[in-house]
Structure formats: structure tokens, C-alpha cells
Symmetry: C2
Subunit: 101 residues, 2 copies
DNA sequence: TAGTCATTTTCCTATTTAGCTAAATAGGAA
DNA sequence: TTCCTATTTAGCTAAATAGGAAAATGACTA
């Protein structure tokens, strides 16, 4: 739970998620939308991946990043569950995935 | 949107929210549940208040802090809306409050 | 008034984080 | 192999953050 909030506590990282919501993209394509240098984007992606909210696929020399919207919303519903009835219902209705963190 | 994620990106602050979910508490009562010194708790509460997820009421020399669960969940649903249909429905159904940022 | 209690503010230090450039890694093409 | 492109890693500096101790504020009590 710590990782996801640390990951989301960054405007550039939240912007990256919005870009990935449109379609999966390579690091370079993402970087084209930012002023930031590519290594910085790469590190932001590593943080998002560590938090489980994006997935990466090696495509030859490219790395394609995909939004894991289910993990993003799932973790936030889990967090909200103790504070909000609707979130608790949603969280409980969600299939619990095994293994992945 | 930045303030709330910065606020939640701290385990002590998330623990404080859980305590306040049970009942409103003074700074001292909250601090009794932590190893941390009271000034540190006070500063964490200021961050949470700035993010709009707790409210404070002066009670003589005491300050009573209350969880603003509606603001907490409301902001997270707003964030999730672009990523999750259920969140979008909930966010749109919520009465938009004016003025309070 | 002085004294006490609850809380916040100030000031300080240690740690973490963000961003950069340069170098390293790895895949594809010639 | 060599070259080129995409991405990550390393190393650095500047800025932000967390926490503590001590001082300041504000409210109640004797």
C-alpha cells in the first residue's frame, strides 16, 4: 500500500498513467510527451511498475508499457474500503488475485 | 490532486486516518498511539488538513480532529474516474461541492 | 496575576527523492 | 563483427521531507 501512494505522489507519474490509459506506449513515445529526459521517465516507469500499476513487455529493443488499470483501481478500493461503503462493496466483489504481491 | 497523494504517501499519516475513522480525537490522543513525538503528529495532521481529508475543531485548549471521509473518497474517485467505469459513475453521482477546493 | 497544559511553530539535522549527464546494456541491421 | 537505436544504470547535485528538541502560543485554573 505504501508503494502505490508513493508512486502516485508525483505529478509526472500521474501524467504517465493518463497517457498509458489511451494506449500502451514505449518509453520513447512516453518521453516525447514530456520535457523530461528519457532516463528520468524510465525511472518513473520503474516506480510505477514496482507499485504494480503498469506492466512492461519486452518487444525486441523496445519496451512496451501498459496500464494495469485493474491493479490501480483495485489497490485504491482496498485502501478506501475501511472508509467508504461503496468502496468496500467493490473491493469485496473483486476477484482476489493470488501471487502477485 | 497532488496534495492528497502527497498526504497519503506516508504510513504514519495513513495510520492516523484509520484512528480517526473510529472517532474524532485530539492531537494528544492520536499521539498516544504512536512512538512519534507530538510535534511530529501535529505536522502530519497539518498535511492531512491541507489535503482536505481531516477537519479540525478548536475545543478550548484542545484541538479535535475529524476524518473527512467524504473528501477522502471523493478525491480518490475523481482520480480513478478516467481509469475505471465504476469510479466514474460514483464520481458523477456525487454532489459536487462548491468553494472548498 | 502566575502557573500549567495542549498544541503549534521554529530551527536544526539526517534521509530521501527528482532530475541531469554520461556510461553501460541489449537488440536489430548491415 | 560494427554500427545504430532504445532503454537502463551510475553518479552526481539540488530540493524536499521526516523527525526531534526547544521555544512560542493560547486557554484554562488557582
Amino acid at each position: 500500500m505504501d508503494k502505490i501512494f508513493k508512486a502516485l505522489a508525483s505529478e509526472p507519474r500521474r501524467r504517465i498513467l493518463h497517457h498509458l490509459a489511451a494506449e500502451p506506449m514505449t518509453v520513447g513515445e512516453i518521453a516525447d510527451n514530456f520535457e523530461m529526459a528519457m532516463p528520468s521517465i524510465s525511472k518513473h516507469l520503474a516506480v510505477l511498475k514496482e507499485a504494480g500499476v503498469v506492466r512492461e513487455q519486452k518487444r525486441g529493443q523496445y519496451v512496451l508499457y501498459t496500464l494495469a488499470a485493474d491493479r490501480l483501481s483495485g489497490q485504491l478500493y482496498d485502501f478506501l474500503a475501511p472508509f467508504c461503503d461503496q468502496a468496500r462493496e467493490i473491493a469485496e466483489a473483486r476477484p482476489r488475485r493470488r501471487g502477485r504481491e
